[in-house]
């Protein structure tokens, strides 16, 4: 075991050291896992493997499941028409029943996208190790948890042993100084970071987001940033817990109660990185200099400030990057040097584990209130969970969306991954609050522009990519505030 008494340590190192079960020469560390999140798409083969080996689930009470990826977001009283999706959801239900795993399935008031319901239920807590067969597990890092996506073979190992074999990751500090301007949000911070370092910039590392701008963010805004750590190549991205974290967690269903709460907070206060601890790499971003960001290409690193122009392949010195840009612009059917402002959009998607929480919907609704979406534009608003849906309905946000001409759907991953029938037609342009603009991600042949909820909503009204800062009343669109 390493000496943990005197040496200054980072947040990641503290969590790692506490969860180290064993470490043998030549082998990766055995790391204990506090919480395992399970969904229908990446788990069936793992349960099949357990049965074949005659194994059981070691800690069903440290495991929790939901159905989110392949489920429809229209009327939930109807059966799932896609027979393969229906079979997959049925298998999840059968697996959870057989192994005693709590399931927040279709029809449950706590169903939702796995990375929305974990925090909402208070299951996600500081200092924990959290895994899921889903790369956006990095979301939970917003609470100061070491949370990362795993493959199905690893899902099987965690089910059987509540442990995982891992090599100690390197650390990468992303310091965001200053304050965001009105109309600029946490989504723009993470898109700007990835545009700077590229989609492989964080490979082999875990991000820790620090600095004044990060501290000023709400928990939901922090989740948006940590969620997309994987798009910068890092399996995990963390933010040290603070009073904002504790305030969010207090009173949630699975959060510690009473004396246990006080003890937990005391333990959590020791988690932040010690003064004098060092990171393997560091980058600094000036929040005040950021604009709303939009992607123009086919990976999340191909993003630009909304007032700039699409880059030209000729300006790229690296031949590989030149070819990649040429290919991306051909797929996107965008011209080198064109303004991204004014680019027409056919579909607007507001939702996902990146931006499908209540504060995201409040921002989008603040733009759409008393306005109407442009003719011919389809706007889908998909809440991240059933609880988010109920809250949005209670606050009247759903009425705002419907009155503006948007579709108000049931909770799920929906058009972020386009497994459930919610998808683009070939050639269509979508501006989306989701996390991936890969070729075909939102439907075969579909073209995705990633942006914040504010930018997506502003674009919905105009029918073209629009700068939310030009809307009247944008000063009132507080970037900070709300639970």
């Amino acid at each position: 075991m390493p000496d943990t008494s005197t040496r200054p340590r980072t947040l990641v190192e503290k969590i790692w050291d506490e969860h180290l079960v064993a470490e043998e020469p030549g082998a990766p560390s055995i790391l204990a896992i506090d919480l395992h999140l399970v969904h229908e798409v990446t788990s069936p083969q793992a349960f099949t493997g357990l049965r074949a080996r005659g194994l059981t689930v070691r800690h069903p009470e440290r495991t929790v499941a939901t159905a989110d990826h392949s489920i429809p977001t229209h009327d939930r009283s109807l059966p799932i028409l896609d027979s393969m999706a229906a079979a997959q959801v049925a298998q999840l239900e059968a697996n959870c029943a057989e192994f005693g795993i709590p399931l927040h399935g279709i029809g449950s008031p706590s169903q939702g996208i796995v990375h929305v319901i974990g925090p909402q239920l208070g299951l996600t807590q500081p200092g924990m190790t959290i895994v899921c067969g889903d790369s956006h597990t990095s979301t939970h890092g917003a609470f100061g948890a070491l949370a990362f996506g795993i493959g199905t073979s690893e899902v099987e190992m965690v089910l059987a042993t509540q442990c995982l074999l891992q090599r100690r990751p390197k650390t990468y500090e992303v310091r965001v100084d200053g304050r965001l301007e009105p109309g600029v949000s946490s989504k723009d911070i993470i898109l700007a970071l990835i545009a700077r370092i590229g989609v492989a910039g964080g490979t082999g590392h875990v991000f820790e987001y620090t600095g004044e701008a990060i501290r000023a963010l709400t928990m939901e805004q922090r989740m948006t940033i940590c969620n997309m750590s994987i798009e910068g190549g890092a399996r995990a991205g963390l933010i040290a817990p603070d009073d904002t974290t504790f305030e969010y967690l207090h009173g949630r269903r699975h959060a510690p109660q009473g004396d246990a709460w006080d003890a937990a907070v005391e333990r959590w206060r020791a988690l932040p990185t010690d003064g004098g601890a060092t990171y393997d790499r560091t980058i600094t971003i000036d929040a005040a200099a950021l604009e709303p960001m939009v992607t123009y290409g086919t990976n999340p690193g191909m993003g630009i400030p909304i007032t700039s122009r699409v880059p030209s392949p000729e300006e790229q010195s690296d031949p590989g990057q030149r070819r990649a840009l040429e290919r991306a612009l051909e797929y996107m059917d965008l011209r080198p040097g064109q303004e991204i402002l004014g680019q027409k959009v056919d579909v607007v998607f507001i939702g996902s584990c990146t931006n499908g929480r209540i504060s995201d919907l409040r921002l989008a609704a603040s733009v759409l209130r008393d306005r109407h979406v442009a003719d011919g534009v389809r706007v889908m608003v998909v809440p991240g969970s059933d609880e988010v849906k109920r809250e949005a309905e209670r606050e009247g946000l759903a009425d705002v969306f419907r009155a503006a001409g948007a579709e108000w759907r049931e909770a799920g991953c929906s058009m972020c991954i386009a497994m459930n029938g919610d998808q683009l037609a070939p050639g269509q342009y979508a501006i989306s609050t989701s996390n991936r603009n890969f070729e075909g991600r939102q439907g075969k042949g579909g073209r995705t522009l990633l942006a914040s909820p504010l930018t997506a909503a502003a674009s919905a009204i105009a029918g073209v990519v629009s700068d939310p800062r030009r809307l009247p009343g944008v000063e009132a669109l507080a970037v900070v505030g709300g639970r």
């Binding site: 795993i150 082999g204 699975h254 890969f438 991600r441 042949g445």
Partner: protein, 210 residues
């Protein structure tokens, strides 16, 4: 139980795929993730780069569908192969097609981990070597490489050999044809001790609140 056989040395011609940052959504589009087993994913592999809407092969054909590529086991890919989604369907599909090793300047972390658990060996080479390999297969598309995991070497036509790094533990697992589950299960006493010393952080079975 993913790795069925010991990973033996082999010789193969090369499938060149120079694009960078190929994400796992391209390797297996999401609509093919509704399966509940690992079989039959070869037809999903690079589906939208290979097939038209009506199911016919695209022209010009994607590299995997050129007749001379059939049976090749080595993929030579652009930087940061396997980015994005954690779907293990990506290596399942690659092995279904027959790929056993991928050479690139870099791999995404989760893809690398998933590949090593499924008998797909990710081999990282430096930029100069990467360019030289693409030059080699451009000059001689029939060139054969010999991959020897035990020796951690790749041999080129003409006898030149270069060494590569691989996680020593993953190498042992591949050579033995086993996976990590047995290793973890053998450490049950240490796991039990850790659990005795560390209280559970959550109980996910708490009753639902209406």
């Amino acid at each position: 139980m993913t790795v069925a056989e010991p990973y033996a040395a082999f010789t193969s011609k090369v499938v060149p795929l120079p694009a960078e940052n190929i994400d796992t959504d391209q390797i297996v589009p999401a609509r093919y993730l509704k399966v509940t087993d690992k079989l039959g994913l070869a037809e999903a592999l690079f589906r939208d780069w290979r097939f038209n809407e009506n199911g016919s092969l695209r022209e010009p054909r994607f590299v995997l569908d050129r007749p001379e590529m059939a049976g090749r086991q080595i993929l030579l890919a652009g930087d940061n192969f396997g980015a994005g989604s954690s779907r293990e369907h990506a290596p399942w599909a690659l092995t279904s097609w027959g790929i056993r090793a991928i050479l690139s300047t870099g791999f995404a972390d989760i893809f690398r981990s998933n590949s090593l658990k499924n008998g797909v060996l990710p081999i990282v080479v430096d930029r100069a070597r990467h360019e030289a390999l693409f030059d080699l297969v451009a000059t001689d598309p029939e060139a054969e490489l010999a991959v020897d995991l035990e020796a951690q070497t790749v041999s080129l036509p003409g006898g030149e050999t270069f060494a590569f790094d691989v996680d020593p533990f993953a190498r042992l697992m591949l050579l033995a044809g086993t996976d990590e589950m047995g290793y973890l299960l053998r450490h049950d006493p240490e796991i039990a001790t850790w659990e005795t010393n560390h209280a559970a952080r959550v109980d996910s079975r708490l009753p639902a609140v209406g």
